[in-house]
Symmetry: C2
Subunit: 174 residues, 2 copies
């Protein structure tokens, strides 16, 4: 049973707001995630949002929490081997490009995160690497690099990214 701290620690109204914020982000990208646009979507005015969140960063923090929780779930589901775990990571990231970017572009606000969440998201990878943190970090870096370079349009349009992925994933096995 997945622990969803978002469900616990947020009031219902806050959760509604976060849900709409997420929809706005995923549908139209980070530039469209505006306090006014979000308020519109909720049928209220922008200043009213500040009755629930102190600022936009606090709202985005909840999106980061959400993304971390879902990543953890995705990795826990497909974590029988390193390749399958990495594939699960990639699949989740590519399925939620804007959320993934929001999560990874800023620096992680560790003090404000639910306790243990970061560790929980990292655990499946660490386990499948037999506790070798260096290997785990290197594999993460590769997976993140592949995904984010693709999302940011840094590879040529005709590049075969699945092939590059396989090449990299193979390198991390032996």
């Amino acid at each position: 049973m997945p622990e969803r701290s978002t469900t616990d620690r947020l009031t219902p109204r806050k959760r509604e707001i976060v849900t709409e914020a997420r929809a706005l982000l995923e549908e139209h990208g980070a530039a469209a995630l505006t306090m006014r646009a979000l308020a519109d979507r909720l049928g209220i005015k922008a200043p009213s949002l500040y009755k629930h969140f102190p600022d936009k960063a606090a709202l985005e923090l909840e999106l980061v929490v959400l993304s971390l929780e879902e990543t953890a779930e995705a990795l826990e589901a497909g974590s029988d081997s390193l390749p399958s775990l990495m594939k699960a990571y990639r699949t989740y990231a590519l399925a939620h490009p804007h959320l993934y970017r929001l999560n990874t572009e800023r620096s992680l606000p560790r003090e404000d995160l639910p306790e243990g969440l970061e560790a929980r998201a990292a655990a499946p990878l660490v386990r499948v690497c037999g506790g070798d943190m260096d290997a785990a970090r290197a594999a993460w870096a590769f997976a993140h690099g592949m995904v984010i370079l693709q999302l940011n349009g840094r590879f040529p349009d005709d590049a075969d990214l699945s092939a590059a992925w396989e090449t990299g994933a193979d390198a991390f096995e032996g």
Copy 2:
């Protein structure tokens, strides 16, 4: 002799502006790179900048060009082996974190780039990979992932990133 298209195609005044923009970015980060702040630094008013660049994106494009050129130079210098080339990449990126982020976060505006620049920046890596594009892309993804996750504070503070780097770099050798 390094080809610096920035030197060729930009008027002297434009080059001064780009130079100050770069300094502002590198010293105080992307949030500080404001048309008004940049103008202040040049002793002029913000609207005057639009006599030289159509918009902020055009200015940032020149910073991307600069970063790509310097990356190409850095890679051409230390390109005798894959590990040394990757190390050169990492060294450059960590030495210019804000410029590197600006370069890699947005999607690459290929139509507006000097012709051949992207290929030139990629060439050393492709060559050292013996033309194996999949291997080259995988290695790039790993290097970028390591660097950007570090710059974005995504690794724990006590993580030994040099060790993780070595682990990953070794994986790409065999």
